[in-house]
């Protein structure tokens, strides 16, 4: 029994020794190194720190994942994924790159970086690096180290302003359009109905006055009031002479100023206006034929002074003579320009 126990103890001791020997042998085959791109740089600069682990392919090594700080004062800005490369001797090379910076000048120590190997820990060698502060020339005034950086303007930044400006411009144009329409007393939407010629309106109103038979109903004053109103409105529409706010004398004077040349029409109008004034303001009662005379005189005045629209044809150069010969043909006038001619029978 004692012999069996002793044999068992010996086996265990052998296994422990063997395990230790194997570990030591393989551990010597795993190496960890850490090195920086430079060991001296300016405050705030960003520098690379590379961790390299060499190991046999058949062992497990635990590469650490770093926090925001490597050690006090050294910040880790970025860290790469583990990059594994197969070496010629069959071992693996694992690389991990850190981007570090520091914002205080002085000497810093990169501490040993531990790598787990089974129950053991293998560490890199610590090393020192130096961070220099910016040299200050005290003889000069304080100034920016670098000028402010102008960030490029992106489309997303411009779009709201450009869109808003365009919208505002459209809104202003719409308001101007609406105001103009209102000022001209035109419909805001839809097409403008062409104005009727002045003589058409006047002749229609005169016909209506004739049909109303006001003077036959002993409404002589009303008859002459309407008659003069029709003529005044016609003069306003036809000659743009302000007649509604003017007296008979002033209306006749305005026509003279406007170089109204038809003497006969002028005298007809004068007689109608004076007779109307007498009826309206002086209890004057004309006899029957004078009513008709005033009405026919009004028709005559409108007819003699109405605006006639004549169409003038347009022809290519060199064909004018031929076109004149054919001028009688009304068909040729259809495509012609419209020319406004005033009928003056003087």
């Amino acid at each position: 029994m004692l012999k069996i126990i002793n044999t068992y103890k010996l086996n265990i001791i052998f296994l422990i020794v063997l395990s230790t020997v194997v570990n030591v042998v393989t551990a010597q085959m795993v190496t960890v190194t850490a090195e920086m791109d430079t060991t001296e740089f300016l405050i705030g600069d960003q520098v690379g720190l590379e961790l390299k682990v060499t190991q046999p392919y058949n062992v497990f090594v635990g590469i650490p994942i770093f926090d925001e700080e490597l050690t006090k004062g050294i910040e880790i800005l970025d860290q790469s994924e583990n990059d594994t490369t197969l070496l010629e001797n069959g071992d693996w090379l694992i690389k991990k790159r850190l981007l570090i910076t520091a914002f205080d000048s002085g000497y810093y120590v990169i501490p040993p970086i531990p790598v787990l190997y089974y129950s053991d820990t293998i560490k890199s060698e610590p090393f020192i690096f130096k961070i220099n502060s910016v040299k200050v020339d005290t003889s000069e005034a304080i100034k920016d180290i670098k000028m402010p950086y102008t960030a490029p303007i992106s489309f997303a930044e411009i779009f709201p302003w450009a869109g808003g400006g365009l919208g505002l411009a459209i809104l202003i144009l719409v308001i101007i359009y609406i105001l103009r329409k209102i000022k001209r007393k035109e419909p805001i939407l839809g097409r403008i109905k062409p104005r009727e010629p002045a003589h058409i309106i006047a002749l229609r109103d005169l016909s209506r006055l004739m049909n109303d038979k006001l003077w036959q109903k002993d409404r002589v004053k009303d008859y002459y009031t309407v008659l003069t109103d029709i003529l005044r409105m016609y003069l306003w529409n036809r000659f743009s002479v302000r007649t509604l706010e003017r007296t008979s004398e002033e209306i006749l004077e305005s026509l003279k100023v406007n170089k109204f040349k038809d003497e006969e029409a002028y005298n007809t109008l004068k007689e109608i206006l004076y007779t109307s004034d007498l009826v309206k303001f002086a209890k004057f009662k004309p006899v029957g034929d004078e009513h008709e005379k005033c009405l026919s005189g009004s028709y005559s005045f409108v007819d003699r002074t109405k605006l006639i629209i004549e169409e003038k044809p347009t022809h290519p150069e060199g064909e004018e003579e031929e076109a004149e010969a054919e001028a009688d043909s009304s068909e040729k006038y259809n495509k012609g320009k419209v020319k406004v001619l005033e009928k003056q029978n003087d």
Binding site: E245, S248, F281
Partner: protein, 331 residues
């Protein structure tokens, strides 16, 4: 043409009673060079029984015109020079104690006459100007406890210098409203002034003859009253006066803030009366819109109270009246 009897008869009466118009104009023309509008305005005041205020810079024959008109009519005439120290009693009269009779008796002032020339009326303070209020409106004067009627015809013709001049007092609104016409006298034309210079150098000042009696004026006034004024013209007159009060109702919103007060009912009355007188001068028995427009500025210019906005915008009552006449529809 068949005229109704009324107008025909009226025209005949006018023809008969207005014969003196031309004579007055001839006599006035002997003394006053040019100033046709001034002479016409004086005639309108005389015929329409309305007092007249003449405004213009010194030297434009305002006083001379009134003096001449007074001399043409065989009537009593007083000239009162308004000065800063003038008292109301100097105008209308006062009660004087007589030691002999041991009683107060009335001493009538220069206002008891047919024609009063109130020269430079705005040189006196408002209390003196206001002394004329009762005389002008009621044709009577109260001294102490007694009221005395003024002679007929009674007409106040006042002159004033533009208010911008030194030493002038503005007439109170109540006073100014009692003047039927305010006539602005302008400088004579060059040819007219040449004639004035020649007359003055030669010291040849023609005199007007007395050709008219007060009865002629009273008769003419009765005819003027009968001049026919149609309802359409009345409506036109009212539209004009109402436009000075409520311009926004007549499409003249721009004047709303510029007018403190418009024409009073006296403006409407005077516009109608002056239109009749103007028609009479034109030998017409009826009023036409031209008559109203011819005298509108003279009747209304002193009855429109302008606001500070109007003064700031350099808008005058003349501008407002012109715009109203160009806006109100003529019947």
């Amino acid at each position: 043409m068949n005229e109704t009897v009324d107008i025909k008869e009226l025209n005949d009466r006018i023809e008969k009673e207005s014969s003196f118009i031309d004579m007055i104009k001839i006599e006035m023309g002997k003394v006053i060079v040019g100033q046709k509008h001034l002479v016409d305005s004086l005639l309108i005041g005389l015929l329409a029984d309305g007092h007249i205020l003449l405004e213009g810079v010194p030297g434009l024959a305002k006083t001379l015109a009134i003096n001449t008109l007074s001399s043409i009519v065989d009537a009593d005439f007083s000239r009162i020079q308004f000065t800063p120290d003038l008292l109301p009693a100097d105008l209308i009269g006062t009660m004087i104690y007589s030691q002999k009779k041991e009683a107060f008796h009335v001493k009538k002032g220069p206002v008891f006459t047919n024609f009063v020339l109130a020269d430079e009326i705005n040189r006196s303070p408002a209390k003196v100007q206001s002394a004329l209020l009762e005389a002008m409106q009621e044709r009577q004067v109260t001294i102490g406890e007694e009221t005395y009627e003024l002679p007929k015809p009674f007409l106040v013709m006042a002159t004033q210098n533009p208010i911008e001049q030194e030493g002038t007092y503005p007439l109170p609104e109540a006073q100014v409203d009692r003047f039927m016409l305010k006539v602005v006298v302008d400088y004579p034309k060059m040819e007219e002034e040449k004639l004035i210079v020649r007359e003055n150098i030669a010291k040849e000042f023609p005199k007007a003859n007395t050709i008219l009696k007060p009865e002629n004026i009273i008769n003419a006034r009765n005819v003027v009253k009968d001049v026919y004024i149609d309802e359409k013209i009345e409506r036109y007159i009212l539209d004009i006066v109402f436009a000075t009060r409520f311009p926004e109702k007549y499409g003249l919103e721009k004047f709303s803030a510029m007018i403190n007060y418009g024409g009073s009912p006296r403006a409407s009355i005077n516009l109608a009366m002056a239109s009749k007188a103007f028609a009479f001068i034109k030998r017409r028995g009826y009023v036409i819109p031209e008559d109203v427009r011819a005298i509108c500025h003279d009747v209304l210019r002193h009855r429109i109270g302008l606001s500070y906005e109007a003064e700031a915008e350099n808008i005058t009552s003349e501008d407002i009246i012109t715009e109203i006449l160009n806006t109100i529809e003529v019947p």
